[in-house]
């Protein structure tokens, strides 16, 4: 089987699975702010969320290209992969930096879905994008760490068994570089919640299961630290390219969904005696959005190929994320406009997907920070912040 055959098979199969979860399924969850439990279970049981886990640890050992196709197809089918994308890739930190014992203990269970590791706690209320300034502290006391602090916008905590937590283990004043002194922990939520950890849901524009998390003397056993103490920031950066590429693919999926809907509506909707798509004022914006989605897709494929070959891909992964998020947002806007008043009606799903795809201008990384990366690291311009 060639790679392109595998990709076709994956697309076909994921699309087939998603077709069992129609627009109305997602629409109702959105209205109730409920988690797509049934969908996530189906995707897990069919093994798709274990795509990146090596075969000897219970996964399929596939590359980022294949993982990205899975997520793209979910969004392209009208669903929202954000509900479970993190189960695919957060485990990367454990895989690359965890001890052999941690890998053997957790990864097979994550692969089977017995354990969900799909929450990653980085962002804090007072420091935002400026990650190294985070205030949450983990202080070592004998065989455990004691964590105090607060995180915000931490998604899917209520639907995870495990959470990766980034906290300071050495105060900022005591490190030579601000990127030092951060560490990564695997928090067992089943034990932590109610015992030093509190979770409070955030009502948001999208159905994303995001929460505020408070730590009040939470005890985390030393054996739950991932990798070396103080190296957390490096581990964090290490996972970013994968995340960028996967998010880009979700945006491409959204973009394709929007363009399909917009084109169909523009062909069918007749006012002033002809299909609205016959007017260049409607047709050209859809065509342009299509061009931009396809172009973004090429950058995403390029980034994924580099990633899977083990080559540096920071620039490409970031560019793919920016291009794809912009393209999906443009496609969303164009589709809203094409649908006239009906774009606003919930039963057409345009407004839902419009809200959902807007996220990627802001999270997990905002467009500005990508531009800052390109300026500084690709164009060798002075660091702007």
């Amino acid at each position: 089987m060639t790679n392109s055959e595998l990709h076709t098979d994956l697309r076909t199969a994921v699309r087939e699975l998603c077709s069992r979860f129609p627009d109305s399924y997602w629409r109702e969850l959105d209205a109730q702010e409920a988690y797509p439990e049934e969908f996530v279970r189906a995707l897990t049981e069919a093994g798709y969320l274990a795509a990146l886990i090596p075969e000897d640890l219970g996964g399929s050992g596939l590359g980022i290209a294949e993982a990205s196709i899975i997520l793209e197809e979910v969004n392209r089918s009208g669903g929202n992969a954000a509900a479970c994308h993190a189960q695919l890739y957060i485990m990367g930190t454990l895989l690359r930096h965890g001890s052999e014992a941690q890998r053997r203990h957790y990864l097979p269970k994550i692969a089977s879905g017995e354990l969900r590791l799909q929450a990653f706690a980085v962002t804090e209320p007072t420091t935002g994008t400026d990650t190294t300034q985070m205030k949450t502290m983990a202080v070592r006391r004998g065989d455990h760490y004691v964590v105090n602090g607060q995180k915000v916008w931490i998604s899917r905590v209520e639907h995870s068994d495990l959470m990766l937590l980034v906290a300071r283990t050495t105060p900022l004043e005591e490190v030579k570089k601000r990127t030092e002194g951060l560490s990564v922990f695997l928090v067992d939520l089943r034990e932590a919640i109610g015992h030093g950890m509190t979770v409070r849901p955030i009502r948001a524009m999208i159905n994303h299961a995001s929460t505020e998390v408070f730590f009040d003397d939470l005890e985390v056993p030393v054996e739950n630290r991932v990798g070396d103490e103080g190296q957390g920031f490096r581990y964090l950066l290490d996972g970013l390219n994968a995340e960028r590429i996967l998010i880009a693919a979700e945006c491409v999926g959204d973009g394709r969904w929007f363009i399909e809907r917009a084109s169909r509506y523009a062909r069918d909707r007749v006012v002033f005696g002809r299909p609205i798509g016959q007017n260049q004022g409607i047709q050209f914006p859809i065509a342009r959005a299509y061009v931009n989605v396809e172009a973004a897709d090429l950058m995403r494929i390029r980034a994924a190929d580099l990633f899977d070959a083990g080559d540096p891909c920071g620039a490409e992964a970031n560019m793919a994320k920016l291009l794809a998020a912009d393209a999906s947002w443009e496609a969303a806007n164009v589709t809203m406009q094409t649908y006239g008043g009906y774009g606003f009606a919930q039963e057409y799903d345009i407004e839902r997907k419009f809200r959902e795809t807007r996220l990627y201008q802001t999270a997990p990384i905002s467009t500005n920070l990508i531009l800052a990366y390109i300026g500084q690291h690709v164009l060798d311009l002075p660091r702007s912040f």
Partner: protein
């Protein structure tokens, strides 16, 4: 039980249909393809029978090289191996021709049960299974809604017109044409997709003397027409007549 399932690759339902230059088929050069719907149910039924009674499921498809895709899909869902009859001449072939190609490819395997879909989503002849049974010299039953394995044979439920069903006992080996909706399809799993890579696919050529049995003269899109019919009479009479027309002529109620 050794079961063969015949699957056809058809153009996906989303593909915008346009008549091609020969005016005898649709433009399918860049089309995306999928497994014919009733065939997917036939495959599922075969997998269930194997799970209950043991044995082997062999997926068979006749067509140009592109049908390798539906074969892989069937293997990913759980079929054990495949037989593929490859020929460009089988791309839009008639039922007789396809049945001859399949019969030649599977005759020596002596299957206990051969399943096909009831009909194809593209041509809709509903003949391939029936002709294949005849060529293999085994009994067949069509429009099957349920399959039970009884000692030495089968009990199958056929769908008749107007909500009627019929139970039929038959001996095996036999051929059944399966109706859509007979079971709940399983998903192809990622593990299944990966495992499919290692399964055997035997590619065979069709018999040399394979020739069409009939010829499509013309394919056309039905012309859209709008007809308005005024039903006269008192409201009560008109309503009665309307119901009759909707039921008997338009057949929508």
């Amino acid at each position: 039980m050794k079961i063969a399932v015949c699957v056809k690759q058809v153009v996906t339902r989303e593909w915008p249909l346009r008549v091609d230059d020969t005016r005898t088929w649709v433009q399918d050069r860049d089309a995306s393809f999928e497994m014919n719907e009733p065939d997917a149910y036939a495959l599922e039924e075969a997998l269930r029978l194997k799970e209950q009674h043991g044995g082997e499921v062999v997926v068979c498809s006749a067509g140009p090289a592109r049908v390798a895709q539906v074969i892989r899909e069937a293997l990913a869902r759980g079929a054990d191996r495949a037989i593929r009859v490859e020929s460009d001449a089988l791309a839009a072939a008639d039922s007789g021709m396809v049945a001859e190609a399949l019969a030649a490819a599977i005759r020596d395997e002596a299957f206990d049960l051969v399943l096909t879909g009831l009909q194809s989503d593209d041509q809709g002849f509903a003949q391939t299974g029936v002709v294949l049974a005849e060529l293999l010299g085994i009994p067949h039953a069509t429009i099957i809604m349920e399959v039970q394995v009884a000692d030495g044979g089968l009990r199958v439920k056929r769908e008749l017109e107007g909500g009627w069903f019929q139970w039929v006992s038959m001996r095996s080996p036999a051929l059944l044409t399966i109706q859509s909706g007979i079971n709940q399809l399983r998903y192809a799993t990622l593990r299944g997709i990966m495992a499919a890579k290692k399964k055997e696919v035997r590619v065979v050529e069709p018999p040399a003397d394979l020739a069409p049995h009939h010829e499509i003269l013309e394919l056309y899109v039905p012309e859209k027409g709008k007809q308005t019919r005024l039903i006269e009479g008192s409201p009560a009479e008109a309503a009665k007549e309307l119901v009759r027309v909707l039921r008997e002529e338009a057949r929508v109620i």
